[in-house]
Symmetry: C2
Subunit: 383 residues, 2 copies
């Protein structure tokens, strides 16, 4: 990996580093990252499944390299992620968003170059388009059928008649590799029992769909499930072969609100500077607005609304409102802050609502928690 850990409890070098950065900056605590990555590796091992980490949160090759298990499988949400990962040596890649016809050219270019890229679909029209494109390119093209176990967005219900029709519409050299599902509704839970129930719904639905396909004569070797909340809540993944998740790498305030992490497990934060005071209201103006935090307000519907982010180490302070390059920091109860404690130029670290959205605003991570090693890791973006 090329770097070693800082001593626990030795923030000296971190503090020195922060004072040297320009703000806003996206900080990644590499010690906490490693703890989070190990947590999910242990979960997958304990549940008897292969881990297929999702690149959509980190979008960074060094992080993917640390996240994978020995199988080196990954998941992506864009072909940009797939191309970047393949260029870095990853080959077994699941593109987990329903395939659009206009993306098949790039998909087949990757297959032709030797990337074992698998696409996802949930309807007969797409199955026909994929089969036709694979035939014309004379390239094998593995396909997973997306299963909808909770009505969240895409996919076929496990019991739907269409399921068999979609599989039957796939023609060589397109080939059914398996089924996949994503229990997106888990993001609306905040109790362990509800999370366990939705994880079981996810598992049972995906396994049931695979069984129906097999009974109809279709080979369906892979059963892929996942979301960070269900991955951390499932009691059993019997019948499942692989687990997908992404946001656990960093965790965030939404995950803390759901109850699958504590705020001190969040590895990602935004470093910001106090650039002004609202003297009357007792609030701080900082240089982290929505461009630095993203517009994500994922905690707005949770029990604890964190505004545009929580000031690390100060549970009562949040970004109350955000303009493009201005954040307004104040007490969540509306009382005035003692501004003398926060002079102009003070640095704050803000924990994000949604790590995927906040990280997407940056071109690189500034690394902390390392004794030696690189100062930054690059991120990719776009499609």
């Amino acid at each position: 990996m090329g770097w070693t850990h800082a001593n626990p409890g030795a923030p000296m070098s971190v503090t020195a580093k922060l004072a040297d950065l320009e703000t806003p900056a996206l900080l990644l605590d590499c010690r906490q990252l490693q703890v989070n990555l190990q947590l999910m590796k242990d979960r997958a091992r304990d549940l008897g499944v292969t881990l297929r980490p999702h690149a959509k949160t980190a979008k960074s090759i060094p992080i993917l390299e640390l996240a994978v298990d020995a199988s080196c499988r990954i998941t992506v949400s864009t072909l940009k992620e797939a191309e970047a990962a393949f260029a870095a040596g990853f080959s077994d890649i699941l593109y987990a968003v329903g395939i659009a016809p206009n993306k098949l050219r790039r998909v087949l270019d990757l297959r032709r170059a030797g990337c074992d890229l698998c696409v996802v679909l949930d309807n007969v029209e797409a199955a026909r388009a994929v089969s036709r494109a694979a035939r014309e390119a004379e390239l094998a093209l593995p396909v997973m059928i997306e299963i909808d176990t909770d009505g969240h967005r895409a996919g076929i219900k496990p019991e739907a008649e269409d399921l068999i029709a979609v599989a039957s519409a796939l023609e060589a050299p397109a080939v059914l590799k398996g089924v996949m599902t994503h229990a997106g509704e888990s993001y609306g839970c905040d109790a362990p029992a509800a999370l366990q129930a939705i994880a079981e719904l996810e598992r049972a639905g995906a396994v049931r769909a695979a069984e129906r396909l097999r009974a109809a004569g279709h080979a369906c070797p892979e059963v892929s499930v996942g979301s960070t909340p269900t991955a951390l809540s499932a009691v059993s993944l019997e019948g499942v072969t692989e687990l997908r998740a992404g946001v656990y790498m960093f965790f965030d305030l939404v995950m803390a609100g759901i109850g699958v992490c504590a705020t001190d497990q969040i590895a990602l934060s935004v470093l910001t500077t106090v650039i002004g005071h609202q003297a009357g209201a007792g609030r701080l103006i900082v240089d982290a607005g929505w461009m630095a935090m993203s517009r994500d307000r994922g905690t707005a519907k949770q029990k604890q609304d964190q505004g545009y982010g929580l000031v690390q180490g100060h549970e009562d302070l949040i970004i109350l409102d955000a303009n493009q390059e201005h954040g307004l920091v104040g007490r969540r109860d509306g009382a005035a802050l003692d501004l003398s404690a926060w002079p102009i130029g003070s640095l704050l670290r803000i924990l994000p609502n949604h790590a995927c959205a906040t990280a997407a605003q940056y071109g690189h991570y500034d690394l902390i928690g390392l004794e030696q090693g690189p100062a930054t890791w690059p991120r990719f973006s776009g499609w």
Copy 2:
């Protein structure tokens, strides 16, 4: 400019171009862009002020080149914008976010290289830090004091005692260039009379602050005001020298909700593909999620909530919900769509809530509305 307009009402080449694009893609209608740019040039001329367009929305050199008037002044929200613009030949640049001490090195590097960059501040500590840094660097550093005319975020109230203290804290080679304000509260209006009133508040407050500074013996040549809503609503800008605005270049659904444009004046849209159907609910799954649209929900508090964006040409269809790479399109009244009209692979164009936030998700614009010329314009991002 190197390109000519397409014939009005001749969408043939546009349609052909759209079918060739991968989705999601950020489309910029160059004909509408030019109309919008001319609108604000005319406003500034009619109001007797210089236009200083804001780079924060477009973040693209070719667009800035079309947007400026003969004075070639621009506004930026980040030093990245300033550096990119200076490299492209712009010199008179206002960095309109309160200066943080850790950014002064880059500010002074730009000054040293010949860029006439001006910084903004609203407190004595920052005035002292700026004066010290300018003195140490032996570089003149023009400063504008930010005035708060509507309690929106940063700035000193026009009547505050501190105003004179801040100006007095500036020491050569730092020099007071003027005052600036931004009537951010205008974004909460939707009636012409209210917009006119807040524009007058902005004008009168900035002029009053300048008069107080001049009466106290400070030269204060520039009085800079602006926001797209107030720029388009002000009846008089007497005493003002320059006007700043950015989002008018593209307009967006928030501006339409405020009432300063119609939806057919919006030059920016996101091209997306139907990748699935929710058959029971009569909804479409498209490949424009929040990564393509941004998480901005700026119309949520307006009379007409546009979800994550409005389907162009279909006033009843919006993106009802969004995941990272999935959008859920349906009727705003909740009724089921006739899905047969929207087969898999259909292309939709989505008008954004907030052009600044949506455009920030992309590395370039795909240009439409041109007979000939470039296919794309690049964007920059980060700080």
